[in-house]
């Protein structure tokens, strides 16, 4: 019911709204992706890398001091402990193995926070493939350490200077590059966005998160099912990974944290489902922040990984069917929650992940509730943001 249908749609959302120039590439992927990723040899190669290279399974950690603070049972799914520091690597390894099997020679990617760019550059270094990462000029400035990491890994980082110079513009540039280089290039998209089959493919690569969670919860709590799973959504890949194996279990409540920036009504926000309506961008129909005239609105969030004007089509569907509950978290709420987690647990979360943590301040949970927070990434890249933030304002 929440899986993609034969035509690439989730309810009314999804599809492949692409110019003819991209059709052969996307069609090739559509025809091949399931065959390849369901093959035994693919699974072997992917699983081995997830284990030995990424360090999976990522721990499910019972956060006792946070639990005490919020008077509920809080578990952190530690995607921050993955190699390269976020969930993004699950997807880039899956896609690069796929790209190799499609005979592709070059990789391009877009990045916001730089986490996906780093994870792509890492996968390319591992596989010996040339890599170009498009990144908004504004993001290059606020995520310097990740830019330097990508360059050290051998990737070329190209600034996207159009529009808001952030994630959506980097995505535009990556798509243009793909149009210009259709034959030997694979575009490793960084979230569950883009034309079908990208959202489904990325969801499958990230689904390892909830697969492990089931087993780990069973061991720790005696049940595979938590009461709540909370994750932040930029495009929605870490959330999709954390939700995937629970979509058809209605007893598990799924909670999304969207970035509200300076506040829903401030004009400086990225809370897509609260501010958007159905529209078409980057190859799929989804919920989109836009003007009445259908121009895409430039979003804002303190976290570069969440300031995207859309969400993955699967999340638009989860929103429309009310399968998931969509919350909005301001910069300030996220920063405070990030600091609290640092000080109570000794874990500095990525500012993106701090949005998921902030839901704990917004909602009341029962003391017996099992609440899993998908800690999508670590905060090293965000040190400047934490240091410069004025918590007292």
């Amino acid at each position: 019911m929440y899986q993609v249908d034969e035509k690439g749609f989730y309810g009314q959302f999804g599809g492949a709204y692409i110019p003819e120039m991209l059709y052969p590439n996307v069609e090739e992927l559509r025809q091949q992706y399931l065959k390849i990723i369901e093959s035994e040899s693919f699974k072997q190669e992917f699983d081995l890398l997830l284990k030995d290279y990424v360090g999976r399974p990522s721990p499910l950690y019972f956060a006792s001091r946070l639990s005490h603070h919020y008077q509920t049972q809080i578990y952190l799914k530690r995607e921050d402990l993955n190699h390269t520091g976020a969930h993004k690597i699950n997807n880039t390894l899956g896609q690069i193995i796929l790209a190799k099997r499609l005979g592709k020679k070059r990789i391009i990617a877009e990045t916001g926070a730089g986490q996906h760019g780093v994870a792509t550059a890492t996968a390319c270094a591992l596989m010996g493939m040339p890599c170009i990462v498009y990144m908004g000029a504004v993001d290059i400035d606020r995520q310097k350490p990740n830019v330097e990491r990508m360059r050290l890994l051998g990737a070329e980082v190209v600034p996207a200077t159009s529009g808001s110079q952030t994630l959506k513009d980097a995505t535009n540039e990556a798509m243009r590059h793909w149009i210009n280089n259709p034959e030997d290039t694979h575009y490793i998209i960084g979230s569950v966005v883009g034309p079908h089959p990208f959202p489904d493919m990325v969801a499958r690569f990230q689904s390892v998160i909830s697969l492990e969670m089931k087993q780990q919860l069973l061991e720790k709590t005696g049940s595979e099912d938590p009461n709540y799973i909370i994750a932040c959504v930029g495009g929605g890949s870490n959330a999709m990974g954390a939700f995937y194996h629970y979509l058809d279990r209605p007893q598990v409540n799924l909670i999304v944290a969207e970035a509200a920036g300076l506040g829903l009504k401030s004009g400086e926000s990225a809370a897509t489902t609260h501010l958007g309506k159905p529209g078409i961008l980057h190859g799929s129909k989804t919920i989109l922040m836009q003007t009445n005239d259908g121009q895409v609105v430039e979003p804002y969030s303190i976290s570069a990984g969440l300031d995207y004007p859309g969400i993955g089509p699967v999340h638009a569907h989860l929103f429309e069917t009310a399968r998931a509950d969509f919350n909005y978290i301001t910069d300030k709420e996220a920063m405070i929650a990030g600091r609290l987690c640092s000080q109570l647990e000794g874990i500095i979360p990525a500012v993106e992940s701090a949005h998921a943590l902030a839901v704990l301040d917004q909602r009341k949970f029962e003391s017996s509730d099992v609440v899993v927070i998908n800690l999508s990434g670590r905060g090293d890249k965000d040190m400047r943001t934490y240091m410069n933030y004025n918590f007292d304002d």
Partner: protein, 261 residues
């Protein structure tokens, strides 16, 4: 009333010169003067670009013109108002070209109805692919007598070209190379081979070549293999705010047409 695109191709079989211009560029109120002047200069057909914030199939020039037009205040509402009486002055085929989202927000049916009332003959919506067009849009387009112009590229398979030919009415837009708009460094032998390959398919629709057609040389090469060609970025580059617009347009048209007259 007869669709002007079909009429044009019935009367003229070669050297059809089509020009793309961005609505509301270089100034908001230039839309109608530009169209009128292009028609006066003997241009055969015009694509009126509806600006969008995220034109993924376009290069720097058209991206910039989209941004300027939007900053000028262009929108579909404004555009329809500007061109509501365009048929008083201009009788060549007019095509609206743009990305799907603004059209989708306007409402497909409302958009088609309005376009048709104004006397628009066709639509080019690059991010509306064939299957979704046939499923959700074809009937509405037909109801309002709008030709849907579909694209083919050097990568498009022969089977798909046949499907596109079948679904097209008016002409087929042949994208000259694997690229976004505005890239041009002449026409390569590889591109000529592609043009010849398509020529040999004897499609039922006429073909117009676009993307990378920028001057007389590339225009005439394209015309040797198709009924005509579209110039976009090169025309946008020819327009500036600081000179007399009709003169700029005349100079541009003459630079392309001179020897073809």
């Amino acid at each position: 009333m007869e669709n002007r695109i079909i009429d044009l191709f019935r009367k003229k079989k070669k050297n059809i010169l089509s020009v793309f211009t961005t609505a509301g560029f270089p100034n908001l109120t230039d839309t109608v003067p530009v169209i009128t002047q292009l028609a006066k200069e003997g241009i055969d057909m015009i694509e009126i670009g509806m600006p969008f914030s995220d034109p993924v199939a376009d290069g720097d020039t058209i991206q910039a013109s989209n941004k300027i037009a939007l900053d000028n205040g262009m929108s579909l509402e404004v555009l329809f108002d500007q061109i509501k009486n365009i048929r008083v002055h201009v009788d060549i085929p007019l095509i609206l070209m743009g990305y799907l989202n603004p059209v989708y927000q306007y409402g497909i049916e409302a958009f088609c109805k309005k376009a048709s009332e104004i006397g628009i003959d066709g639509l080019i919506l690059p991010d509306l692919p064939l299957d979704l067009y046939l499923e959700d849009y074809a009937e509405i387009f037909k109801k309002y007598h709008l030709s849907n112009i579909l694209l083919i590229t050097p990568q498009t398979s022969p089977t798909r070209i046949r499907q596109i030919d079948e679904a097209s009415e008016g002409f087929i837009y042949m994208v000259s190379s694997n690229s976004i708009t505005g890239k041009s460094s002449g026409i390569s032998d590889q591109q000529k081979e592609y043009f010849q390959r398509i020529e040999a398919m004897n499609l039922k629709n006429p073909k117009i070549i676009g993307f990378g057609i920028s001057d007389r040389a590339t225009f005439s090469t394209a015309c040797a293999h198709a009924e005509g060609a579209i110039i976009g970025s090169a025309f946008i580059r020819a327009l500036t705010t600081d000179e007399n617009l009709p003169n700029q347009i005349r100079a541009f048209a003459q630079s392309i047409k001179q020897e073809l007259r």
